[in-house]
Amino acid sequence: METPVAEQAKATEVSVEERHYNIIGTRPIRHDGADKVTGKALYGADVRLNGMLYGKVLRSPHAHARILSIDVSRALALPGVKAVVTSADLATLDSVVSRVGEGAVNWRYLSNNILASDKVLYHGHAVAAVAATSLNAANEALNLIDVQYEPLPCVITAVQAMRPGAPILLQELRTNELGARGEIPTNIASHDQNMRGDLERGFAEAAVIVEREFTTGIVHQGYIEPHTATAVWGTDDQITIWTSTQGAHDARRQVAEVLQLPVSRIKVIPMEIGGGFGGKTVIYLEPVAALLSWKSGNRPVQVTMSRFEVFAGTGPTSSSVIKVKMGSASDGRITAAQVTMAYAAGAFPGSPVGGAMSVILNAYRMENVQIDGYDVVTNTPRVAAYRAPGGTNAAFASESVIDELACKLGIDPLEMRRINGAKEGDRRVDGPLIRRIGYLETVEKARASAHYQSPLPAPSTPGLKVGRGVASGWWGNWPGGTSSVSVIVNNDGTVNLIEGSTDIGGSRVAMAMQLAETLGLQAADIKPMVVDTDSVGYNDVTAGSRTTYSTGIAVHKAGLSIIQQMRERAAQLWDVESASVDYADGVISSKDNHIGFKELARKVGDGDGNVVASISISPNGDGVALATHIVDVEVDEETGKVQILRYTAVQDVGTAIHPAYVEGQIQGGAAQGIGWALNEEYVYDQQGRLLNGSLLDYRIPTALDLPMIEAVIVEVPNPTHPFGVRGVGEVPIVPPAGAVANAIANATGVRMTVLPMSPQHVLEALWTQGNERV
């Protein structure tokens, strides 16, 4: 008997051979573009309501401390102050984990992260909030809140937190080993493992073995728009929240859980969002703004974070320590790999170590492999997703080791990847069989690229060293979740596309193009709009590279329903069997009749209702994405400074709906990866205080730090999507750190094992390894 799973997979099989599209693959101007280049587009902080109060959040100066008391009386007495909230205003939630977005959330921990209860667990942890008639009054009021702390020793890195006798963050925490609970209090939230084959035998077969330990710092998504939320708690107890979030429905659900209210009481209105990269899948301010509104007598309250608050108070991604031991036969075949990785989750469990365990070796065929992953809590902000969560640090480690093996064996690094690269039918290190992917295609394309075929450029100044490096990246994406859309045919022949997927980087146009392709219309005929939580079915976050994939499937299904209805309308019009009516390229026809979509749309609706379709789906899917990057660097060995000279990113995108925005995702992901590789990291002092919480000292790349980034699109259609789409957003951030490290090694003979590869760290590596250069 055929199972739904198989049907699902079959139902949407697309043939691999070239398919011709009318709209897909073109570059129309995005529908929301004009508003965004003229300043008319309204983002979260642009909301202006009559009588609106300004909220500010008081944050912990300590990395780890017990809260002895909080006295808000002086703050409340300040003229202009209308309300103060603390965790006392939040219900104590059960310690229960639910699937939220791509990950899992423990509701009690989420609540404690929004407002600390008994303890503060990191510098910047929210403790209280005020609402006042002016920003100044709100800020002054924060200084009048008297919090008594009992400071406790802190742990900043996973290594510190795992040491015996380390200060414990969460007394109730026990190590979870796939359902088995440990006995003793610990900072190790979980241990997981992927294992196959026989390591001993594998290493015995190896001609060369490389073993290295890598450490990486905490990095932030660095979206330019700070978190913001505006809330009105109505006198009818209906709550309206304007915010910039990657998922309005998800935000609504999280607020409902934290405030212990039914979701129907909450409406989330998604404003335009100024970047997220995973960091805006978690809520911070929304319940606070709502409570402040309630306590201030139902006045609108807007809370917007400062840049420091964004760094100190929201989820960056994990620092990590990763041990990799890999062996290879003399022909380049990897015979065994052993990985131990510990990811720092920050104050509460939930690092992306699970994702990292799949990224680190899944691009390769591995028979003998063991990967152990540890999720460790530390006195730093609770991590949030960041573009291919956990992937960049993992690939930095594995791609460096594979590169070193290739060097030692005298094999071209791309050939090394071709020899070991995974393809359809191979088994992932974490078990499942691999469906159709385009990894080897990216390796071949990279190898044939003008970049790889060109000689290294000469140094810009005598004495500087130049080098070239490559690295690959695997990312599973999130081909799932739930997407809902509604489609309305207007009687002027245009079509409204109502969706719940946040548009962070041009997804409105990508959705409109998929509907236009389905209906045989132009992208401009479609009017895509992202609406509030009351106006469309449940929709999961724009994250995990899922939107163009999953919401695209929903759009296509809705389009098919519209086509069917238009055929029936035409059948009525011509008084024929609808079965005899064909629909192709926007023309509806039967034997001797035919009519265009627009003309028929005009005839529709007088007396027999509108043509509409609403679809909600939760597809089972696949859409693994792979990329191979090439970088040329110039290293100043006297200063340790690394300059990116040339960068090429090759990626299998399945099918590029709007190539310009696909290139944009690849270029943007590569740029973030380069920032991570070269300069980005949180710097803490001995007491665990964040020192560089500004865009001056947390150094994301400027226009002057990057070259043009050549995005090379490879299209191996994904059989589980009607147009062959794979998620493209995340995987481009996976290879850069490894590629840059390999280029530095190529230039200097020194292997970097720490991120970022900042001038200071490169200098130190040159000083320590200088004599043992390869």
Binding site: T639, N679, R699, D705, Q760, L763
Partner: protein, 293 residues
């Protein structure tokens, strides 16, 4: 931001009177790129902010080959590098003013502010010291000149007494066969605070081969920008060679007292002082007309 009174002064006298009356409670605003941030972050508390941009004297920017360069305290960076004559005469100063912040910072930021803010890492100060610049200061009891190397006494603190205001910065005329340079090291290529900054200035004899005068100043390696007279003195009378330059760099390194902070380690900074001093001297020598063999 904290509340304060905004006073747009129109005369030097008026500004001085307010400064004398308010003391630490008043602060001069010209470019505001440091002051406004400090006020916003509560790192400075003041009762009055005195905007001096409407005072004619402090907006003067004049260059005369005979008398040198005078830069009013409120002259923003872009006006300095925007003047071809000044850019041609003092490339070493232009090195510094054209890399303070980004273009939009240079539209507001002033050398006067950079000096009075007295940051150890200020980009313009080592360049000014190397160029033997001096500050013209006016108080209730009249004017006085302060060599730039003596102007800063601690992070955020200067020689300015209660009731004194910086009017202008003066750089001596360009002597023949002389050249200056400023180099800073930053991890990015723009929008960074110097990990180390080095200002160098040299003068050669007519043959263009022997050093007759030299000044080296360092940034971000001491509580204040650091003039290292012995480093320059060591070069005087010497024939130009990479050895002599290296010696000067070593002396500069010995004078540096760097600390470890979020922007760099003491060891890294001390190393960079050597590298940058050497490189800055080579540029300065080139500009002075030295033709390397």
């Amino acid at each position: 931001m904290q509340a304060f009174e905004y006073i747009p002064a129109t005369t030097v006298k008026e500004a001085i009177a307010i400064l004398a009356r308010e003391g630490e409670q008043a602060r001069v605003l010209s470019g505001g790129t440091d002051l406004i941030v400090q006020l916003r972050e509560g790192r400075r508390k003041v009762r009055a902010v005195i905007d001096i941009k409407q005072i004619p004297e402090v907006n003067e920017l004049s260059y005369d080959p005979a008398t040198g360069l005078q830069i009013g305290a409120a002259v923003p960076c872009y006006r300095i590098y925007g003047s071809p004559a000044i850019a041609a005469a003092y490339p070493g100063l232009i090195d510094a003013v054209s890399l303070i912040g980004g273009v939009q910072i240079q539209g507001r930021a002033t050398l006067g502010g950079n000096l009075c803010n007295s940051s150890p890492a200020a980009d313009s100060i080592p360049a000014l010291i190397a160029h033997q610049a001096s500050a013209l200061v006016m108080g209730e009891n009249g004017e006085r000149r302060i060599p730039i190397e003596e102007f800063c006494i601690a992070p955020g603190r200067t020689q300015l007494q209660r009731g004194e205001i910086l009017l202008s910065i003066h750089i001596p005329p360009v002597s023949p066969y002389s050249g200056g340079a400023y180099l800073r090291f930053i991890p990015r290529n723009e929008m960074d605070i110097a990990v180390v900054g080095v200002g160098a200035w040299v003068a050669l004899d007519q043959s263009g081969t022997t050093i007759t005068a030299a000044r080296i100043a360092l940034g971000a390696v001491a509580p204040t920008p650091l003039y290292v007279p012995e480093s320059g003195a060591g070069l005087i009378g010497k024939l130009v060679s990479s050895e002599t330059v290296a010696e000067a760099a070593t002396i500069a390194q010995a004078a540096a007292r760097p600390i470890t902070d979020m922007r760099g380690s003491a060891q890294q900074r001390s190393h960079l002082v050597g590298v940058l001093t050497r490189r800055a001297l080579h540029i300065a020598l080139k500009r002075a007309g030295y033709k390397s063999a």
